[in-house]
């Protein structure tokens, strides 16, 4: 059954003059048939040939079968003959309504590209896009919003239609912004998004686009050529290589629309319905006391050798529960939603494969967003720390690493969810400090491979002991001697003696220890739900 259909077809309306409202009910069916035909068979065929699904197929792909209750199905511009009889309807290019994902209600909508390329349309009330009924539904009912974006926004042709030019913000982002603090907002870019729809995609907690068929930019190639004289393809300007991997404008990429819908469902499975609730606890058959021996040997004794931090995350989290956000952007840090004994958590892990885990501007931006996301939806954070500090060098300074890094530290200090710090190897400097819960329990767990300080010993000895080294008979030998002496004193066990780190564990015990504390934190999490207004000015 097509979504929005009712069980009865026109033929089921009984014959006979006694049937009240017969003509009207038939007209309703006729109007619904127009709505189902979207922009017409030719436009739908063309859309399919481009490897893209229609908005109705997309909604079906995301939501639970048969759960879509359409709103505003009849919206559009009717065409009438001289007697006032309906000849057809040019539909409003937006389809939306209420549906369910995994049994939970969501507001969902998207542009219908087969009608006028999904450009904006104005009736008495907007259906969706920026503002509109679908956003009001998410706000009023406190349910997640899913935007399936496939439109190029406003068109200058509207000046001719209206007889005047609209001021920017007449159909503004005020509701979209409000939703960011209330309910999960997911935006999928499923075509070429420019202008308003492109901006709408960014005002989300998580965004995704599809390889080969999706592009997103402030303005497309014709505008770029006119403004800057640059000839550039859509793919080069706003394909996933730029928008996802290079810029982080969109969070994740899907290989096709079907995978995109699966990712949307998966993302929502980690989210509460709104900020007044906790995320749903998932089912797991993974034992809470599972100890993975791999964790004992994964960190090489040679400090110059990196290892696969994603394997560490998978070894600790519930089996098959890890969902990585922004996997190809800011790769020096890994951010993943996951579950621990069913409870949703956020992992933030340094990636030693990328610059030894040093935090650059992009990684810091990614970390900042992920902390805010988890804090907003009451998801405890687990830092797996192997960070030598902020990234150094001219490129890093030019990329505002220090500012982005300190912004991440600032946002971390404003977060009120429990934060667990697991020091896997290096924990140095301000980037290291940014992994701790200074305003909370400040619970730091270290593996025996851990080391920490204001800066790594090898980098600091030459500067701090310059005079002593220079005046020695054999300066190199003296430097090595001092380094060895300091390294012995920098053993994590010495800090544990001083209770400067709260616990040192066998790495294989990481899962059971974290699961126990995360379980214990649930009551406190439940007592602190609601919106989290933030004060102050982010650096």
């Amino acid at each position: 059954m097509t979504p929005g259909d009712v069980a009865e077809s026109p033929s089921s309306v009984p014959d006979g003059a006694a049937m009240p409202w017969r003509a009207e009910l038939e007209e309703l069916e006729q109007r619904r048939a127009y709505a189902r035909s979207l922009g017409g068979a030719a436009a739908v065929d063309k859309h399919h040939h481009q490897g893209r699904l229609t908005i109705r197929e997309r909604i079906d792909g995301v939501v639970d079968a048969g759960s879509f209750k359409e709103v505003g199905q009849l919206t559009g511009a009717g065409r009438y003959d001289e007697q006032g009889r309906l000849l057809g309807v040019t539909l409003a290019p937006y389809v939306m309504g209420l549906a369910k994902v995994d049994g939970r209600p969501v507001a969902i909508g998207g542009e219908d590209f087969t009608v006028r390329g999904g450009t904006s349309w104005s009736g008495d009330r907007k259906k969706g896009g920026q503002g509109g009924f679908v956003e009001d539904l998410a706000h009023q009912y406190r349910i997640p919003l899913v935007n399936l974006i496939d439109g190029a926004g406003g068109s200058v042709t509207s000046i001719k239609r209206r007889g005047h030019s609209v001021f920017p913000g007449v159909h503004g982002f005020e509701r979209s912004v409000q939703l960011m603090g209330e309910v999960p907002v997911v935006c999928a870019v499923l075509g070429t998004a420019a202008g308003g729809p492109a901006g709408r995609a960014i005002l989300s907690h998580w965004s995704v686009m599809v390889k080969d068929t999706s592009h997103v930019f402030a303005a497309g190639p014709p505008v770029v050529e006119r403004s800057l004289g640059q000839k550039i393809s859509k793919e080069e300007l706003g394909g996933p290589q730029i928008a996802v991997a290079t810029a982080g404008t969109i969070d994740n990429m899907a290989r096709n629309e079907a995978e995109c819908f699966e990712l949307i469902r998966r993302y929502l499975s980690y989210m509460p319905q709104n900020v007044w609730q906790l995320p749903p606890r998932g089912e797991t058959s993974d034992p809470v006391d599972r100890c993975d021996d791999l964790l004992r040997s994964i960190v090489p004794e040679n400090r110059r050798q990196p290892y696969d931090m994603r394997r560490v995350i998978r070894s600790i989290a519930d089996a098959d529960s890890v969902f990585e956000i922004q996997p190809t952007f800011g790769k020096a840090v890994i951010t993943s939603l996951a579950r621990m004994n069913g409870h949703v958590v956020g992992f933030i892990a340094n990636n030693p494969m990328i610059y030894g885990g040093a935090m650059d501007g992009k990684a810091a931006r990614k970390q900042t967003h992920f902390i805010e996301l988890c804090d907003c939806f009451h998801i405890p954070l687990i830092f797996l720390v192997d960070v030598p500090g902020f990234m150094v060098g001219k490129d890093a300074e030019a990329a505002a690493t220090l500012r982005e890094g300190m912004r991440s530290v600032y946002v971390g200090l404003q977060a009120t969810v429990p934060i667990y710090t697991v020091v896997v190897r290096k924990c140095y400097g301000m980037a290291g400090m940014g992994t701790t819960d200074k305003n909370g329990l400040d619970f730091k767990i270290a593996w025996p491979s851990a080391e920490w300080g204001s800066l790594p010993i090898e980098g600091g000895v030459a500067a701090a002991f310059r005079r002593e080294i220079e005046s020695a008979a054999d300066p190199k030998a003296r430097e090595a001697e001092i380094e060895a002496e300091l390294r012995a004193a920098a053993s994590p066990f010495r800090t544990a003696e001083a209770f400067g780190v709260e616990e040192i564990i066998d790495p294989r015990e990481t899962r059971p220890v974290l699961c126990a504390f995360i379980e214990a934190a649930q009551a406190r999490l439940a007592a602190h739900t609601g919106p989290k207004p933030k004060y102050g000015v982010r650096p």
Binding site: Q305, M353, Y355, G356
Partner: protein, 71 residues
């Protein structure tokens, strides 16, 4: 053909597999040095290493193509 690109700016420390050799998925093709770390360049899918575009000691930048693998 798959281009193996550098994730980091640094230098080529050691080339492990030479052109013409076959690769198993997950094999280390070369090791880069960056931020005092030895960063392996891994062929995710395996195949044959058809071209090496760098030599030991050479500086490389993030995103630079280091080698080409044919599946």
């Amino acid at each position: 053909m798959t281009e193996l690109k550098s994730d980091v700016t640094g230098s080529v420390w050691k080339i492990v597999i030479s052109a013409g050799q076959s690769l198993q998925p997950g094999d280390t093709v070369m090791i880069l040095e960056s931020m005092k770390m030895e960063i392996p360049v891994i062929a995710e899918d395996g195949g044959t290493l058809v071209e090496l575009r760098v030599v030991e000691g050479q500086s490389v930048i993030e995103g630079q193509v280091l080698a080409v693998v044919k599946e």
